[in-house]
Amino acid sequence: MEPKNWVGKPLPRKEENRLLRGRGKFADDIKMREMLYLRFVRSPYAHARLLHLKLSSAEALSGVICTLSGREIEPLTQPFIEIGPEPCAKIRDYPLAIDKVRYQGEPVAAIVAESPQIADDAAELVEVEYDPLEPVLDAEQALSDGSILHESAGTNRVWNGIFEYGDLESAFRDAAYVVTIDRMHFHRFSSTPLENNVVIAQWDSKDDHLYYSCNNSFPSFAIQFLAAHLQLHIDKIRVQTADIGGSFGIKITNYPQMAVCALASKKAGGRPIKWVETRSEHMTSSAHGNERTFRDTRVALDKDGVITAISSRHIDDCGAYPRYEPLGCVIWSQVLPGVYRVKNLRIDFTQAVTNKCPVGPNRGYSRMQHLWFLERVTDICAHQLGIAPDQMRLRNYIRPEEFPYTTPNGCVYDSGNYPRMLALAKDLLDWDSWTKKRHEARSQGRWVGMGVGTTLDSGTNNFGQSQIVNPDAPFSGNSQGANCKLDIYGEVVVAVGSCPQGQGHETTAAQVVADVLNISPELVSVRTGFDTERNVHTGFSGTYASQFAVSGLSAVHGAAQKLRAEMRRLAAFVLKTNEDDVEFGAGPQGPELRAKSTGQAISYWGLANIVNVNSALLPPELHDITLNCRFVWRAPFKVPDKQKKFGNLTLTYAAQLHAAVVEIERDTFVPRILAYVAVDDCGMVINPPIVEGQVYGATAHGIGAALMENCVYDAAGNMLTSTFSDYTPITALNMPRIQYGHIETPSPHSYSGAKGMGEGGAAPLHTISAALQDALSGEGIVIADSFNNGDTLFRAIVGKQIYQAAHIVSLERRS
C-alpha cells in the first residue's frame, strides 16, 4: 500500500462529534460521591488591612461543613514559590489573604457546604472588618513606593533589568533622524474563555493522595507549585483534565484556587470539593493580561528611514501578586527586535505590583506588548518621516535570505518571509484600489486609514530564560512526552502530555501516527486531556506558548517511531524474514505488517497478542519489546548567558501579518473596519482548518482587545468591568469579514517543518492602531494606546486631552 500523507490534510476534527453535539466532558460535568461545594468570600477593597474575620455565623448555618481562612492555612502551608529573586522572593503569596488584601476580589475566606446555594448563603454571613489603605493603580506611581503592597518585600518593584545590545552611542551619533516618543501604553485586557475556572479536589486521608479534576492548562507547572505549597510528595498529586472550554493561558494560574480546594477537602475529611468560578469572579480575580507603559523612547534612523537603534524604558504592571511573573520580564525579549533588522537596542525593563487583579499569561503573553510597542515605533517614525507605512516596513524587515536570523540577543528566528506576507496581504486587501478610495474619502473630509501590523508568535520556549530574571532558577530547555502503544487487541493508543483547550490535539496527533504506521487516522485512538498518572508528562507538559505542533507532535512522532521499530522487529521474527522485508499496510482484516518476499502477514492484534498475553512465544532476545513506547522530545536549547542576557529563547517563530482599512465616523468617532486581511505563516500546516480556525479566533480576540475590551478600575480600585455587559467581549456580530491567506516557510527545527501557533492575537492591535494613525495623522494625533473606541478618539480629536502629537512625539533632523 502506498503511504498516505495525513499530515497537511484538512481532516475533520476527531473531537467534533463530541464537542459539537454537546457531549464534551468538562470539569463541571463531573460529579463525585459526597461532593461538597466551595465558595470564596472576596474583598470589596483594593487595598486594606484585614482587621477581623468572623466565620462563626457562616459555620453555624445548616449544611455548612467547614470554612477556611488565611490565618488557618498559614501554618499548614508554605507560601507559593516566587520565581523572581529578591525583592520578589520576599513576597509571601498565600491563596487566602492573611493580614492584608491587595486587590478587589482577593479571597479572604472559603466556605464549604453541601450545596453551592448554601455556600452562597453562608458567604453572606461572614463578617470582615477592613481598614482601607491607599490603593496603587498605576505601575509608574507604584514605583514611587508611596503605598507599599507587600511590606515583606519593602518595595512595589518586582524586577528590573537592562537589556542592552549593540552600540547605541554610535547609532544615535550617526543617525540622520532621531524620533522621541514620550509615553505609550498597552492596556489591560484578558481572555474570556466560555468555561470559567473549575476545580474538583479530593484529599484522601487514608494515604494523603490528592486528586484533581480541573481545567488548569499547565498542570505540570501547577503541581510543582502545589507540592511545595502543600508540602506533599509530587507523586501524591494526580491532576486530570478532560475537555477544556478555552484557556488562552489564563488558566495556568488557577493553582491558588486548587490549593484552597485541596485544603478544604482535607478539612472536610476527604470529601471531594468542587469550586466553579462565576463569570464575575473570573473577570475580577482570575488573571488579566499584562499592562505596560513605554517611556522615553528614542529611535535612531538613517537617511532612508531604516531604524538603527531603539532605546526605551518599559514598566510592566503585574497586578497584586507576581505568580507566573516575573517571567514576563524576559519573555518579551524572545522578540526583541520584532520583525525588524535593528541591531542596537536598549530596553530598561521594570515590573511593579499594583492593587489590581494578578496577571497571568494571556494569549501573546508579554511578546504582544513589546511587538505592539515596536509596531507603534515603526509606524510613528514612518509618519514623522513621511514614508508610506508599507514601504517603511519593507525597508526595515529582516530579509528572507537572512534566515535563520540571529537577533542581537541571540534568538534564532528559524524561518520567515515578511515581504512575501506583506505582498499577499496587500493583494488580498486590494491595497492599490483602497489607496485610491482613501484619497477620495479624504478629499470628502472622511477619516479613512490603512494599516499594517506584523507580529511574531514565538513558540516552544527555552525555560532557561527564567535564569535571566533569576540566576538561581532551576529551569532550562523544554520537553514534552508522549506514549504510543498497541493495546492487547492491537488498538493503536496515543497519550501525550498536552492539555488541549480546543486546539484539536486528538486529530493532529492521530494524523502524525497515521503517517508513521501507514494507517488511517480513524484507527488511532488519542487520549483526551491530561493525566499525571498516564506517566507521559514531563515538567514542562501542558498546553501553552504555541508549541504543540512542535513539542507535542515531535513527542508523538518519536513515540510512534519507537513503536514502529518494535513492531517491525517483532513482525520480522514472526514472519521469519528480515526487517527490511517488512512493510506496513492494510489487509482484509485491517492494518497489518507484511513480508514483501512471501506475502505472509501478521495483524496488529497478532503482534499485541504475542507481547501481552502469549509471551511464551517470545524469544529472550525480543524481551525488550513492549509495544508500549514512551518518548520524550527535548528542544535543542542551551542555557542562555545570564549576564549578557543572550541566547536562543524560543525554537520557532510563526508570523502574522494583518492589514486593515478603518474609518472613523465623523459624528460618533467610532472606528469601523472597512476591510480586513489576516495572513499567517506557521510553517508547514498539519491541519489547515484547525490553523485557520485559530487564526480567526486570535483575530477576533485581538479586534475585541483593540476596540471593545478593556479592564477598567476606578480611582478606588473598584473593577468597573466585572460583567460581560460592562466588559463587552467581542461577539460574531462585531466581527468584520476576515480575508485569510497563508504562506508556509518550513521550520528547520521541527521534524515536520511546522511551527507552533495560536497566539497571533496581537496582530489586530498593531494593525488597528496603525490604521487609526494613518487616518488621523492629519489631525495632529499620535495613537499612543492600544485600546481605542469612539470615546478615546473623541477625547483626542475634539477634547485634545490625549494623543496630541505635539506633546508626545518629536523629530530631530540631523542632515
Binding site: 452562597d120 460618533t668 467610532v670 471593545m708 455587559s725 463587552t728 462585531n734
Partner: protein, 297 residues
C-alpha cells in the same frame, strides 16, 4: 452564584397580586419578564424575600387599538410589540422594541416591567414620554390612571404604591403629519445604551407644529430637551434649526462618566442621536417609510 431563598407567589389575578404585595410588604418584588430582576438577584444585589409572579395572570398581554389609542397589557413582551402590525402604526414603538438587547431578552422582557423598573438607561420610558402615555394601575383600593410624566419620579422610583401593579399602558396615536424616531448608541447589542434620544414631531407643511424630545441614560430619569423643543417648535425643520436644537439638547443633558463613556462623549452623542432621530422623524411625519437602527460601537 445563586440568589438567596425567597418565597414564590403565583398570582391568579391583579387583585390577588395587589393583596399579595400588601401582605408581603417592602420585602416583595413583582416578577414580570425578570430580565433585570433575576440577574440582580443572581448577583445578590437584590434579595427580595417574596416574589409575586404575574406571568400566570390571564389577559395581561395584548396590543389593541381603540379609537385613537393603543392599549398594551403590562405583560406584553418587547418581541410582541416588535412584531405587531397594530403597534407598527407608531413607528417609534417599533424602533424601541426591536432595538432592546437581544432576542432572548426581547422574548421575556415586558413593557410594564420596563416602565415600573424606571432604570435611567431603560428604553421605553424615553420613547413613551414623547407620546401621550398613561398607565392604568391596580391596587387594593381600585384602579387609577397615571400619566407617564407623573409616573417616574427618580432613578428606579415611581409613584406606584407598595400594593399597586401596572395593568395597562395606553398610548395616544399621534395625528396625521406626526412622526417619531428613537435612536440609541450602544457598545454591544445586549447592553444598555450609552445614550439615547426619542423625537416626535408634528408638521404642518414644513413647519413644526409640535415636538417632543426626550433623552435617555444622561440623567436620573428621561430628560426633556425643552430648549431644543423650543428651537424647533414653530420653525421650519431645516439643517440649521436642527443643528441649533441639537446644540441645545447637548447642553440640557446631564451625563455622568461611567464604563459606557466619558460625560463629554455622552453629551456629544446626544447631539448626534438627536439630529439623526429628528431627520428620521421628519421624514416619517411626511409619510415616508424610514427604517432606522441603533448606532453600535
Amino acid at each position: 452564584m445563586f440568589p438567596p431563598a425567597f418565597n414564590y407567589h403565583r398570582a391568579k389575578s391583579l387583585k390577588e397580586a395587589a393583596s399579595m404585595l400588601a401582605q408581603a410588604g417592602q420585602e416583595a418584588k413583582l416578577l414580570a419578564g425578570g430580565q433585570s430582576l433575576i440577574p440582580l438577584m443572581k448577583l445578590r444585589f437584590a434579595s427580595p424575600k417574596h416574589l409575586v409572579d404575574l406571568n400566570f395572570i390571564p389577559r395581561l398581554s395584548y396590543i389593541k387599538k381603540y379609537k385613537d389609542e393603543l392599549h398594551f397589557g403590562a405583560l406584553t413582551r418587547h418581541s410582541e410589540i416588535e412584531n405587531s402590525a397594530t403597534a407598527a402604526a407608531v413607528p417609534i414603538l417599533h424602533d424601541c422594541a426591536a432595538g432592546i438587547a437581544d432576542v432572548q431578552i426581547r422574548n421575556r422582557g415586558t413593557l410594564g416591567g420596563s416602565l415600573a423598573e424606571a432604570d435611567p438607561s431603560g428604553d421605553w420610558a424615553v420613547v413613551l414620554s414623547t407620546l401621550e402615555t398613561s398607565l392604568s394601575c391596580v391596587g387594593q383600593k381600585g384602579e387609577r390612571r397615571i400619566p407617564l410624566h407623573d409616573f417616574i419620579t427618580d432613578a428606579y422610583t415611581t409613584v406606584l404604591a407598595p400594593d399597586e401593579v401596572v395593568r395597562e399602558i395606553s398610548v395616544k396615536i399621534p395625528p396625521q403629519g406626526s412622526g417619531g424616531a428613537y435612536l440609541a448608541f450602544k457598545r454591544a447589542a445586549p447592553v444598555y445604551p450609552t445614550a439615547s434620544v426619542a423625537v416626535q414631531v408634528t408638521l404642518e407643511g414644513d413647519v413644526c407644529q409640535e415636538v417632543a424630545i426626550r433623552m435617555g441614560c444622561v440623567g436620573l430619569t428621561p430628560i426633556r430637551a425643552s430648549q431644543a423643543e423650543g428651537v424647533l417648535r414653530g420653525a421650519s425643520l431645516g439643517e440649521k434649526a436642527i443643528e441649533i436644537a441639537a446644540e441645545a439638547a447637548r447642553s440640557e443633558a446631564d451625563p455622568q462618566p461611567d464604563m459606557r463613556g466619558s460625560a463629554e462623549y455622552k453629551r456629544m452623542l446626544v447631539g448626534v442621536l438627536m439630529k439623526r432621530a429628528t431627520y428620521a422623524a421628519v421624514r416619517r411625519a411626511r409619510g415616508e417609510r424610514v427604517d432606522v437602527s441603533h448606532l453600535y460601537a
